[in-house]
């Protein structure tokens, strides 16, 4: 914290009292770059940007001197749309935030509404939510690690296709419970939309039993892989001070050695009933972020092993009026999604639609520290670092 505070003080003293800087139009000074400075626009259409994201990279020689992220190509105004929809009607929209973690997005939103309206959730529904969340975490981490390895060029597509094989089984499980494979719309305010089908638990148990051997297989394939080590060890280091100061969350924060997981720090649902560890990294480089995700998959399996046999009988949904009118007030509900802390800030004026809904997007805020992580490295390393953050543009741009 020491370095940080020193920086802070100097910055505060410099704050000018004059007019605010209000620049809507970026002035491009064509004469500015010198002979050895080179500006490159990566994206918005580029295979390694995981969507429509643009990086404006300034090079000095081969090394990156400055990196400016540019967003907004996928901005749909989801927060504005929420103001004209009832609380229940907004659930399908949360699927479209980070579409690889839809189930977790649903959960974060319903947690916020339940907090605002003071709704109790039946125990069985909470168990189902935990099971869905952990299955989602495994699925999302598989994709995060797979695409990250793809960005590194680890024998193009091979590791990713191994991971697609297991994700397919998870998608089958999700399809069983709600009929959809990507945008689930499964959670409801006060529970879940329907009970688990009979065959679900059998398949889920089998998956939990098989998965550790598949993780072993990835480890055999990757843990000592020359390409992986060369491209990730010591690359894109995020110091713990910087990680906390720039509000990083999820695996990005934990890879820097900060033991902070909302499932432990601020338990929601039933997470205080399960026994699991929070894996942390050592120095916060790309390799640590990769390791943390692999370990988190193992911990998710541990939670599933406990949750599936404990699943009680009973209702899966509390009766909630179709036009829910939460009392006047504000609430911030958050959960630990595979990518970090996803929060919903809701303001109610007593009507059927939220007066204001704000989404705290974990991946947008994780990108805050990206320019510090890539300055001074090669462009190829910047792509690897960006891949290791695991972003989803649907959530960044909203």
């Amino acid at each position: 914290m020491k370095i940080d505070e020193a920086k802070t003080e100097s910055v505060i003293l410099e704050i000018p009292k004059a007019q605010p800087v209000m620049r809507d139009v970026e002035i491009i000074d064509t004469d500015a770059p010198g002979d050895d400075v080179f500006v490159l626009n990566m994206g918005p259409q580029h295979p390694s940007t995981h969507g429509v994201f643009r990086m404006r990279v300034t090079f000095s020689g081969e090394l990156i001197e400055d990196m400016q992220p540019i967003f907004g190509y996928l901005h749909r105004g989801i927060e504005k749309l929420a103001e004209t929809r009832t609380y229940t009607q907004f659930i399908p929209m949360t699927d479209r935030l980070s579409y690889l973690t839809s189930m977790a997005n649903n959960h974060a939103y319903v947690v916020a509404v339940e907090k605002l309206a003071g709704i109790e959730v039946p125990e069985r529904a909470e168990y189902i939510r935990v099971i869905m969340n952990e299955l989602m975490r495994i699925s999302s981490h598989l994709m995060a690690v797979g695409f990250f390895l793809n960005d590194l060029g680890c024998s193009v597509f091979t590791p990713l296709l191994y991971m697609y094989r297991e994700r397919e089984k998870l998608l089958d499980l999700f399809e069983m419970v709600c009929g959809a494979r990507l945008t689930y719309n499964y959670m409801r305010i006060g529970g879940v939309s329907q009970d688990l089908p009979e065959e679900f638990l059998g398949y889920a148990k089998q998956f939990v039993k098989e998965m550790p051997s598949y993780i072993e297989e990835y480890e055999q394939l990757l843990a000592e892989n020359e390409i992986l080590l060369a491209r990730t060890k010591g690359v894109g280091v995020l110091t713990p001070e910087m990680a906390v100061n720039s509000s990083a969350s999820g695996p990005v924060l934990r890879a820097s050695g900060i033991k902070w997981d909302l499932r432990k720090a601020d338990p929601y649902s039933l997470y205080d009933r399960f026994d699991f560890d929070v894996p942390v990294g050592e120095i916060g480089d790309n390799y640590d972020r990769y390791r943390v995700r692999i370990e988190e998959m193992r911990q998710s399996l541990r939670i599933l092993e406990q949750a599936i046999p404990q699943l009680p009988e009973g209702e899966v949904r509390t009766k909630v009026p179709q036009f829910l009118r939460p009392p006047k007030g504000e609430a911030y509900g958050r959960i630990e999604t595979p990518q970090g802390e996803l929060g919903f800030y809701l303001v109610s004026d007593g009507g059927i639609a939220p007066y204001r809904l704000h989404i705290r997007p974990p991946t947008l805020i994780n990108v805050t520290a990206l320019s510090e992580m890539v300055v001074g490295s090669l462009l190829a390393d910047a792509i690897a670092t960006f891949g290791s953050i695991d972003v989803c543009l649907g959530e960044i741009d909203r």
């Binding site: 704050i15 000018p16 105004g77 927060e79 509000s247 720090a265 601020d266 947008l364």
Partner: protein
């Protein structure tokens, strides 16, 4: 479990070190005046028994008569949290930037500037985040559409 900091106790401490800073206290949040926001923020971050080192979320709400900027802070050391608010007028909304204290505010302040038109004085790079350059208006204001 993350505990919410008791507002009355905090307000008492704040008014001791920074008189005239607190505008309103409720059970769940503390409202401070914009001119003393930075002093309060420094106090919250640096005093050892508060130690708010993590800015969870920064957002703003348009209430037609005034605008409200909301800071949700957490201390990882003590595992407690606080909702801090600042009110500013709607015609010329100006709030000091906290990017010097919490760098996590960088993109979030740009987002609030873009969508609600609150300008954060002292922000190093206050440009629109989502809308394109030259876009007029601020879409998340209640009277935009």
């Amino acid at each position: 479990m993350t505990k919410a900091v008791v507002s009355e106790e905090l307000a008492g401490k704040l008014s001791k070190s920074i008189p005239d800073a607190v505008e309103e206290i409720t059970e769940s949040w503390v409202v401070v005046k914009p001119q003393s926001l930075l002093q309060v923020a420094i106090h919250l971050k640096q005093s050892p028994d508060l130690a708010f080192d993590y800015l969870n979320c920064l957002t703003a709400v348009d209430y037609m008569e005034y605008m409200e900027v909301i800071y949700i802070l957490t201390s990882m050391k003590h595992n407690h949290s606080l909702v801090l608010k600042v009110r500013c007028n709607r015609e010329r909304p100006e709030v000091p930037s906290v990017t010097g204290l919490w760098k996590g505010a960088d993109l979030q302040e740009r987002e609030v500037y873009d969508l609600l038109g609150i300008s954060f004085t002292g922000h190093p790079n206050l440009k629109r985040l989502f809308m394109w350059e030259g876009f007029e208006g601020h879409p998340l204001r209640r009277d935009y559409l």
